[in-house]
Symmetry: C2
């Protein structure tokens, strides 16, 4: 029996992953020079396919880096001289805040209890804030935030840069590139890939900010600072020898998703999410952790486990269904279920049968 990974990332890999991996090997893609024409074509194709899939405007730049965590560091280094502001409702939004502090900045935060979202209209952003940071989908708690809420805030702060962590939301959840100046994600969630590649997407305002900081003698990092990434991307290259395998696979999976259609992916995600939440709402042994329906993520579904999570996880694993434990302090109090494009509705049904 092969396991089905309903974990929140790394998770079930894309069904075509094996085929793509082997084709890459056959074609010699893992041997080609990262300074040559063939790599340039591959780079350009992945960027183009990703931009089409995620509806990224032409004036945004796509950078390939190591992880979403690295993206947090780069965004702070390149967009903040002193003050960032963070909406914190879980471990990953908190991490963004902490990275800013570790880099010697003076971040502030608006915190709410785990499982809750934000009232953006009531939050006042401190004067002098250079960057406001959001987490579209807090993977530790299963809370999502809506782009419309971010838009309302942006209207009040048009000159402040907005960064959105879209890690476990993309490609399902739309991004309003009129309000987000930069977004980032990693490929081991909604793209069903092996981990090890981060994608950072920034507009010219972020580039300009990094240039101003650099001009003022602020440390913006070295090989992966925005001007360096931009210069290389202009040649369809990366500053260092990159994860060519992952850039290639990402392009193939974007093509696959485009062929299938993002609308269809969203429809299937909604159907599976409805099934999962209906089960939780009708089953007192597994109540949904996020009570407010508008805050419930469609891609990371968190259930409370009043009888402890270990037994539930073991029971599911015994039938080949791997789900995640709660995050941090919730390790034994929650299970977390990923709902990504690779997950089949039939498997969701079977998994819920085991849970019943």
């Amino acid at each position: 029996m092969k396991n089905v990974f309903f974990t929140v990332g790394p998770t079930q890999t894309h069904p075509k992953l094996g085929e793509y991996l082997n084709e890459g090997l056959e074609k010699g893609i893992y041997s080609i020079s990262h300074r040559g024409k063939e790599f340039g074509g591959l780079f350009a194709h992945t960027v183009s396919s990703l931009k089409t899939l995620l509806k990224i405007p032409p004036d945004f730049h796509v950078f390939f880096i190591g992880s979403a965590t690295e993206a947090m560091e780069l965004v702070v280094e390149n967009c903040v001289e002193d003050k960032s502001f963070h909406f914190v409702n879980g471990a990953f939004s908190k991490r963004f805040f902490q990275i800013a502090r570790e880099l010697g900045k003076h971040p502030e935060e608006c915190g709410v209890p785990a499982g809750e979202g934000f009232d953006f209209q009531k939050t006042s952003i401190p004067k002098g804030t250079e960057l406001v940071c959001f987490t579209q989908n807090e993977t530790s708690t299963g809370v999502k935030i809506e782009m419309s809420g971010i838009r309302a805030l942006k209207l009040k702060h048009p000159d402040t840069l907005f960064a959105v962590d879209i890690v476990s939301a993309t490609p399902y959840a739309p991004v309003d590139y009129g309000v987000a100046d930069c977004v980032f994600f990693s490929v081991q969630k909604g793209f069903g890939m092996p981990s090890g590649l981060g994608i950072l997407i920034v507009n010219d305002r972020c580039i300009q900010k990094s240039q101003v900081l650099h001009g003022n003698g602020i440390n913006i990092g070295s090989f992966h600072n925005f001007p360096a990434l931009l210069k290389s991307a202009g040649k369809n290259q990366t500053p260092e020898t990159p994860n060519t395998l992952a850039i290639y696979i990402l392009g193939r999976i974007c093509d696959f998703y485009l062929e299938k259609g993002l609308k269809q992916i969203q429809k299937e995600t909604d159907e599976k999410a409805a099934l999962l939440y209906a089960f939780l709402d009708n089953n007192p042994r597994y109540p949904a952790f996020v009570k407010n329906e508008t805050w419930r993520s469609k891609t990371v579904i968190v259930a409370e486990t009043p009888e402890g999570s270990a037994g539930v996880i073991k029971k599911l694993a015994g039938q080949g269904y791997i789900v995640g434990a709660g995050y941090g302090e919730f390790k034994d109090k929650h299970i977390r279920i990923g709902n990504f494009p690779m997950h089949e509705i039939e498997d969701v049904r079977k998994m819920l049968k085991v849970l019943e």
Copy 2:
């Protein structure tokens, strides 16, 4: 006809790569949690196998990062408050120097013309130097340096940290861990892997230095600073979701190399290098770029191409042998030939036949 990549990295992939990639997929390794037991075992195995293969002393720590270029940034951030010193004889040693400058440090350099090595005994290291940086094998020019030369210098500067870039030298060239405080490499050279994983190996003196810098309020980076990497490594983890695929494959290839024996790998490398240099020394159309035999790298062999490199590269490619162009200003003046464990002596012979 399948190409044989004699490029200097990315290069010919390991013959077992396809098998290992597919086994990883079959076993679900690209889906497992990077915070779980199975990943911990995999991490520990790769570290252990690598330490055995490269004879790394137990008190050195192995960190998995994105690239050797990232290693340069991390080493400077974590080991230098103000002054590093760099032996520069090509593009990659120069890069290390430039990264230090970009990070706001005040590096100095000892430069020699491309194709030449160093007289370490005659070089005086400036007072106050915190870190001395060496490139064991300058991939841009094919010049190697000997650990014995570094040792002589270390005896004069026992309190200064020494960092050695072993990118295209390892696993062939031995490292004297009595004189190197940290070394780093990437896996797309001597390990025949897809690029996208850097390995950084540091001793406790480097860790202590990073702690002192941090204590003094110096920015040592965030998620990948040495204390963070060490804390995670202590749990057989990485701070971020890592390139699990590559960590797994690296472990398998280390096992393969251990089975074969490093001595055998070194013997074969020497034989192929002897064949290559003998050809160049007897063929005025392709004189070896490095004239001094003691400076000649065994793993990156650079030949001058008085008639231009493009025609030579094309001729070889027509027969399925891919070699690299010269680096930077030498693009049309050199070809570069990788001599790594994956390269078969029979293929070297056939390639040289085409060159004749």
